[in-house]
């Protein structure tokens, strides 16, 4: 069965053009770009090209790009660098809905004695700029706010955020892993200091990413060793993956119009169709500005894992904000931060599309999902009428 892949915020297929661009670096072009012979040096030229491709996609200079192994490495490097470079500043500002790459790191830093302000979001997943402004202090070393949420697709207003943060003199980092290639991000207009992207979210392979560091920003490397990446990230370059990333960013930039027209229209059709076909359903973050490819939809009275496993019978790949899929016992931290009622949070499903998504994919979901929800609701002891009151165990103190 061919998968109907609607889980592109988790990872994406490698674009055929990207795969063919990277393959020679596994076979004939295996040289080390640092070598003092033309066989290795030739590979260096391809790295320079890839750096230029990524820089062009972000509207920055090639020297401002540091290649990394993944998004998590970029996030860790940026935040730790900001703290190490400003030892007198011990305060961090971030949000409650960040990806674990930032969330868990900030919790770790909190345990190590840094002070962290956790910004709340409203029921649509939006940030309060007033709260942000109030949180900033003289000793704020860095503000880390994602560009787009991976679970709901909700966008944070980076330009407004940057204006506020810069006027207070703090460094600004944004995890843009879900945003790059989907919405325009121009470093010329957006005064962020660090921006992180990841290859496998934009049709490059896993194991490569990039960190943008604005020229002139104080920087302390995370990996210390050789002179690679201008001394900002030691370790022999993953040449094949870096070439792939350059190619992927170029393709994504070219496809951005399609992402915001055709892909958005597919997402909107899926959203409207499901809302119309399934009673007691709602969109998580539906009132906010969102990525064009992401739909987080919640079905009352049913549980997400059961939905995913039944979708899987049709080859449909999606993901869930429910507790049961992750091995944790509570719904996702993002849905909880938004105050999504538990009755909906457990039944939340995320569909994330890509430029490879077709009309037929959407048709299949619209045909198969409503009966799945009906079937699970039939099994469930909660019906539409009594559901709210049918709590058997004591009230939760969440």
């Amino acid at each position: 069965m061919k998968p109907v892949y609607l889980d592109n915020n988790a990872t994406t297929q490698v674009a055929p053009e990207v795969l063919s661009a990277m393959l020679p670096f596994f076979s004939e072009q295996y040289g080390n770009p640092s070598s003092m012979h033309s066989f290795g040096g030739a590979v260096g030229a391809h790295l320079r090209r890839a750096r230029a491709q990524v820089a062009k996609g972000l509207g920055c200079e090639p020297s401002e790009i540091v290649f990394t192994s993944c998004g998590t490495e970029g996030d860790n490097t940026a935040i730790r660098s900001a703290l190490e470079a400003q030892p007198d500043k011990r305060h961090i500002v971030t949000t409650r809905v960040e990806h674990p790459a930032v969330l868990s790191l900030c919790k770790h830093l909190e345990d190590k004695g840094y002070e962290v302000t956790w910004l709340d979001v409203d029921s649509e997943g939006r940030l309060s700029l007033k709260d942000l402004e109030k949180s900033l202090r003289k000793d704020t070393a860095i503000v880390s706010i994602m560009a787009a949420n991976n679970e709901t697709g909700v966008l944070f207003p980076l330009e407004d955020i940057a204006r506020i943060v810069k006027s207070h003199g703090a460094l600004l980092h944004t995890d843009a892993v879900q945003a790059v290639g989907k919405i325009p991000l121009d470093m010329g207009r957006l005064p962020v200091d660090f921006l992180v992207l990841s290859g496998h979210k934009l049709h490059a392979p896993k194991g490569v990413g990039a960190l943008y560091v604005r020229k002139g920003t104080l920087f302390r490397p995370f990996l210390i060793g050789g002179h690679q990446e201008g001394g900002r990230r030691a370790g022999t370059e993953n040449t094949a993956a870096i070439v792939a990333l350059g190619q992927a960013v170029e393709l994504a930039t070219a496809a951005m119009d399609e992402e915001n027209t055709r892909v958005r229209a597919l997402r909107d059709r899926l959203e409207r169709g499901l809302l119309a076909a399934v009673p007691d359903s709602r969109i998580n973050g539906g009132g906010a500005e969102r990525l064009p490819n992401t739909l987080s939809i919640a079905f009352k009275y049913v549980e997400g894992e059961a939905i995913l496993l039944l979708l899987d019978r049709f080859g449909i790949c999606a993901s869930s904000g429910s507790a049961c899929t992750s091995g944790s016992l509570e719904p996702s931290h993002v849905l909880r931060a938004m105050g999504v009622p538990f009755t909906f949070a457990h039944g939340s499903i995320r569909f994330s599309l890509s430029r490879y998504t077709t009309d037929a994919d959407i048709d299949l979901v619209l045909r198969e999902l409503p009966p799945i929800i009906a079937r699970l609701r039939q099994l469930s002891p909660f019906s539409g009428k009594e559901g709210e009151a049918a709590g058997f165990c004591s009230d939760h103190s969440h």
């Binding site: 016992l329 058997f392 165990c393």
Partner: protein, 278 residues
């Protein structure tokens, strides 16, 4: 992705005995929408005490639905006494095993069965549990459920307790309680059945002091009372009641029902309380 057995997937995709029952002899309900899973079990029990039919309604993940289906299959044809002996391990074994993190689904089956049998005997429904008896407030898990899961499944770590009962899987505030309960149960399990713990006099005195200081005194203080440990002679613990307890008409009840019982549980079943008036 979870590695479910073929049998789990079969009972999830083709649940047996799903649906509400007309005129059931007994109904057992556990869980809630907020908890993330819930099970309503219906039993038809004949005059001879044989379970003629069992059906269920379940809100939850694949393993919760499969565990419910397995439970009903296990129950049909059994006598009430046979059903009483059923544990969550039987449900998991019927399904060819469950991932450890999903074992709480089998425990939910056992709890629904308990609730249904209580309902059949005409006892009051066990839920909602009083706030005070809950160890895990996030998931509404009682101390009794936790102790039983530890004993019947030979649980060794707090993570195991969370996997099997969900307790501690929310805010985590109850994890110190889980550690204490686990240590107590492990200590009790390490002793041969029926044998009293072997303690030196010093150990016994220290444990008595600890239980009084950490558990009994705070409980009495809530009502304005207090207690003083006067002496320990062998298994006899001499105490004096203070504060509001003095002259309280139920003070003897407090001594026997709370102080003596708790010390017998925690230290030694032979302990006797003697009140010293001063």
């Amino acid at each position: 992705m979870w590695e479910y057995t073929d049998k789990v997937m079969d009972h999830f995709l083709n649940p047996r005995n799903a649906g509400e029952m007309d005129n059931p002899s007994a109904v057992g309900e556990v869980g809630s929408l907020a908890c993330g899973d819930a099970l309503r079990l219906f039993l038809k029990i004949n005059d001879a005490g044989v379970i003629e039919d069992a059906t269920f309604q379940t809100f939850g993940c694949a393993s919760a639905i499969a565990s419910s289906s397995a439970l009903t299959e296990l129950l049909k044809g059994k006598t009430v006494d046979e059903a009483k002996a059923l544990t969550n391990k039987d449900i998991a074994a019927f399904l060819g095993g469950l991932p450890k993190e999903k074992m709480h689904c089998s425990v939910m089956g056992q709890e629904a069965l308990d609730a249904a049998l209580k309902n059949w005997r005409g006892e009051a429904a066990p839920a909602p549990a009083a706030e005070g008896t809950l160890v895990c407030k996030c998931f509404g898990v009682t101390e009794e459920t936790i102790r039983r899961a530890i004993r019947e499944n030979d649980l060794k770590t707090v993570e195991d307790v969370t996997s099997f009962t969900k307790a501690g899987g929310g805010c985590g505030d109850c994890i110190p309680d889980l550690e204490r309960i686990l240590a107590e149960e492990r200590a009790a399990m390490a002793r041969p059945a029926g044998e009293a713990p072997k303690m030196t006099n010093i150990q016994r005195m220290m444990l008595v002091t600890k239980v009084i200081e950490e558990e009994i005194r705070p409980a009495l203080k809530k009502d304005g009372g207090n207690i003083e440990l006067v002496d320990i002679e062998g298994a006899t613990v001499k105490v004096a009641l203070r504060g509001a307890c003095v002259g309280c008409p139920s003070s003897q009840l407090t001594l026997k029902g709370l102080v003596e019982k708790r010390l017998q549980e925690a230290v030694d079943p032979d302990i006797r309380i003697e009140e010293v008036r001063s």
